[in-house]
């Protein structure tokens, strides 16, 4: 299963520890959301581009635009309309500036987040998530159970996808149009069954391990 967009490499950006990547991403995103000066957004975009260059992945910089341009276009148009008809109506030419800044800021945040994803192997992301669950233990999260649920989720995605495809083929072979209820009803019945079987399989293996404090202590 290749769920991830990982682009292997050995640059400084790739080798940076995960917490540092998240810290930089958090800082860049916060600047882009809360500090909407054209100059600041411009400089932040240059920083993101520099990081892409440092990772020697310059061609990936525009990928968020290629994949997400409808979203960015929507953001720009909404901000433009807000500028013309909003509480302080401005002539269209003056409203264009803030709209472009918003598009640039959203694009920058998407590009920065994507750089983290494509320079980090999926297993490392999952390990990081597991450590994050450990931090949440005081608020009542069971880290072992949560990490196991993540694994169940990742492994179930191909299964559910396969169930959707099989049912779509079954509908097509009977000449039925694939309306949402016809398509998803049988898939959901199969999914509940799959979840039950998975739960029994986990219980039979004594998972999740009871070295964390599980909510009920069950001898199994």
């Amino acid at each position: 299963m290749n769920l991830l967009d990982y682009r292997p490499g050995h640059t400084a950006v790739h080798r940076c520890p995960l917490w540092a990547k998240y810290a930089v991403l958090l800082a860049l995103s916060a600047v882009l959301v809360f500090w909407r000066q054209p100059l600041v957004v411009g400089v932040t975009l240059v920083v993101v581009l520099a990081l892409y260059l440092a990772a020697s992945l310059p061609r990936e910089f525009l990928a968020p635009w290629r994949r997400g341009w409808p979203l960015l276009l929507f953001a720009g148009i909404a901000r433009f309309i807000s500028g013309i008809w909003g509480p302080t109506p401005a002539p269209p030419l003056e409203a264009l500036g803030p709209a472009l800044v918003v598009v640039a800021a959203v694009f920058g945040a998407l590009a920065a987040a994507r750089l983290l994803v494509i320079t980090t192997p999926g297993t490392e992301l999952l390990d990081g998530l597991e450590r994050f669950f450990g931090v949440l233990r005081p608020v009542g999260v069971n880290p072992e159970a949560a990490a196991l649920a993540v694994n169940v989720m990742i492994r179930s995605i191909p299964w559910v996808g396969g169930a959707v495809r099989r049912n779509a083929e079954a509908l097509a072979s009977r000449g039925l149009r694939r309306g949402p209820v016809r398509l998803m009803g049988p898939v959901l019945v199969a999914t509940v069954g799959h979840a039950r079987a998975t739960g029994e399989a986990l219980a039979a293996r004594g998972l999740p391990g009871d070295h964390g404090e599980t909510r009920e202590s069950r001898p199994s």
């Binding site: 945040a109 998407l110 989720m153 995605i157 998803m184 739960g199």
Partner: protein
């Protein structure tokens, strides 16, 4: 087939079963978010299935497990696994127009789950009573009016959490004023009504197959 309803001795669900249900339904949401839009109705207007799957998870798993399952999906998406719709990954999406909607999903599933649990338990009890009187052809099945209430609980979940938080997210991320953000959000209202109808219809199919799900026995 009439379903006898045991009243006493209900054990809390074991941890492995909870883990499996939360994980598998989070996978279901991920698959629905990645599916191409599906044509619906006479005109074949395409709809995306992400919010449909979120509400369905609330309707089937109930408040607590529904919340955990949807929260799992959101957390995995924000960490950077490509399970969010539109091929976006990582918490950059929080700075985009859809950030507020994404954060609202777990709460909407929880509220919808809580309300629909109340409705379904009463509906199941009423159906069992009717079956005991031997009145009906469709004995033991939850009646149509109860399903309308189930749909209503999905709508309440949408309008208490998803739309206000979506509007707030757009006002913050896109620097919009309230009327514009509201107008942008209202574009989704008709689709939302339809998606909640579809989620209710699919939930009815599933609960017909597994009647115990109406009582949140998994």
């Amino acid at each position: 087939m009439s379903q006898s309803v045991p009243v006493a001795g209900r054990k809390p669900l074991a941890v492995p079963a909870q883990v499996a249900l939360a994980g598998v339904f989070a996978a279901l949401i991920a698959v629905c978010a990645m599916l191409p839009p599906i044509p619906v109705g006479g005109f074949g207007v395409p709809i995306t299935l992400q919010t449909f799957a979120v509400m369905l998870t609330g309707l089937i798993l109930g408040a607590r497990l529904g919340f955990l399952s949807v929260a799992l999906y959101v957390v995995v998406g924000l960490v950077g696994l490509p399970v969010l719709s539109g091929f976006n990954a990582g918490f950059g999406v929080l700075a985009g127009p859809s950030g507020g909607y994404l954060l609202a999903f777990p709460f909407a599933a929880a509220l919808t789950g809580a309300l629909s649990t109340l409705v379904l338990k009463r509906g199941q009890a009423a159906a069992a009573q009717r079956a005991a009187r031997g009145a009906d052809v469709a004995a033991g099945r939850i009646g149509f009016g109860w399903w309308a209430l189930v749909w209503l609980s999905a709508m309440v979940g949408s309008f208490v959490f998803i739309h206000p938080m979506g509007i707030g997210g757009m006002m913050l991320a896109l620097d919009l004023d309230l009327p514009t953000a509201l107008a942008a959000d209202m574009v989704f209202w008709p689709g939302d009504v339809i998606k909640n109808l579809l989620a209710t219809a699919v939930a009815a199919t599933v609960i017909r197959a597994f009647p115990a799900l109406a009582l949140r026995r998994f």
